[in-house]
């Protein structure tokens, strides 16, 4: 019996808490949502399984968890905590992004800027709730609807909140098709949702090659804090558009981004140990995250309506909702809501312009917050 008791005390059962069990259940819910509902499966499966792994209670004397210096998981998590993985993901995103729609209709770029109001209003909300300015900045970036940017900034400004912020950001990104449509419908009339936009013009290859270099210089000179994210994004895009580095572009947008997504998702999930994750602050972060997505969506739609006051060729205000990054999900939501009113209205290509501009906007906002708030 004594030997059996000793064995029991060395198993994870002995240290299992209600919080660990709850987090394991949450991890399984993530995996289920990804598999059954197809909600961001490439992210939710690694994160969900990481949550399950991270909440197996550690055994005394064994270096196992993300927070045990020298453990395998802590080495993988180093890519998150040191801010290595997010820029690599941006490289892959750049190598798969086609900026043509944005280049053909430059005024839609402004919608990507307007949607960033979600970041800054959430920052104010977080300050009001008692978070310090660095923590508030890291929470606010959830409104950018860009997982890698949220992870990058919270690793710099508030590493202790990284797990909560990453999980909140990715959860709400997966829920974009649920969160956005009611706000879009509430803020637009039927006539506005029926607006058909002019077909985009042809964009030459020269424009596509010049754009990443020029846009990087503009963004980096205005907000140097964004150099890492924006630099990798536009470098990846140059690999794609230059037509002479197709092999590199292929690796960046396929094998590399997949490897980094697996490592990032799994290690972020594994960092959500109940003891550090289940806190009142985490609940507030989730609440603020929902608020920031809603405000960002509303900001884009309202600004599109404002622009229509001055434009001869009207913008369908629904495309403003794509200004929150969440590429390409929010653009798909715009297409879906638009087609509910007019099945022959194709808004996807128009929505991709504010969508990719939103990626730029949130990365620039992250650069600003990092340079202002870093201690």
């Amino acid at each position: 019996m004594h030997i059996f008791n000793n064995f029991l005390s060395s198993t994870a059962f002995a240290n299992m808490t209600f919080g660990n069990a709850l987090m394991i259940a949450i991890g399984i819910i993530f995996i289920t949502l990804a598999i059954r509902k197809d909600y961001e499966p490439l992210l939710l499966v690694p994160i969900g399984f990481g949550v399950v792994v991270g909440n197996i209670p550690p055994v005394e004397g064994m270096l196992l968890s993300v927070y045990d210096q020298g453990s395998v998981l802590s080495i993988i998590y180093g890519g998150v905590s040191q801010g290595l993985f997010p820029p690599l993901i941006f490289l892959g995103i750049g190598a798969m992004t086609d900026f043509s729609t944005m280049l053909s209709n430059p005024k839609l770029v402004l919608l990507g800027a307007a949607a960033q109001i979600g970041i800054f209003l959430t920052l104010l909300g977080a300050l009001y709730l008692g978070f310090d300015p660095a923590e508030a900045g890291a929470i606010g970036i959830i409104g950018g609807a860009d997982g890698p940017t949220a992870i990058f900034l919270s690793a710099k400004l508030a590493p202790h909140l990284l797990g909560s912020i990453a999980i909140a950001a990715y959860s709400y990104m997966a829920l974009v098709p649920v969160i956005q449509p009611p706000i879009m419908k509430l803020l637009t009339t039927k006539e506005e949702r029926l607006i058909r936009m002019k077909a985009p013009r042809h964009v030459s290859q020269r424009e596509k090659i010049i754009f990443p270099i020029a846009a990087f210089l503009i963004a980096a000179l205005i907000a140097p804090g964004a150099i890492v994210l924006i630099g990798m994004l536009f470098f990846g895009n140059l690999l794609k558009e230059s037509c002479v580095t197709e092999r590199l572009a292929n690796t960046a947008r396929n094998a590399m981004i997949d490897i980094v997504t697996i490592l990032l998702g799994f290690s972020v999930g594994a960092s959500t140990q109940a003891q550090t994750f289940l806190t009142p602050q985490a609940l507030l972060i989730f609440g603020l995250g929902a608020l920031s997505f809603s405000v960002a969506t509303a900001g884009g739609v309202i600004f599109a309506k404002f622009m229509n006051l001055f434009l001869k060729d009207k913008i369908n205000p629904l495309v403003g909702a794509a200004g929150v990054s969440a590429v390409p999900d929010s653009a798909r939501v715009v297409q879906m809501v638009g087609q509910q009113e007019d099945p022959h209205n194709f808004l996807l290509m128009h929505a991709m312009a504010p969508n990719v501009a939103g990626v730029l906007g949130s990365a620039i906002a992250a650069g600003v917050l990092w340079s202002v708030l870093v201690v």
Partner: protein
Amino acid sequence: MGTLNFSIQNIINGDGISLAITGMVIVFMALSIISTFIALLPKILPILESILPEEHVHHGPTKKAKKNDSEVLAAIGYALVKLNSEKRQNG
């Protein structure tokens, strides 16, 4: 974050309003300049004609024959053989 303390004073102490306004202005400024640059790009392109011509001549190695080119070659060969044998029969 220590204890939960909801107060407007937190925003004032953290210089939140000016931070939010400055951040939004910088994001708008950067994207407005990028937008203006994109709008001007078609006008800039003719100036760059000598450096970056529209018809780009690629000096890299020539494309290697693909595996399935052999099927095309076989078809051409078959057609030639057939043509020659028809000529011989006629002539």
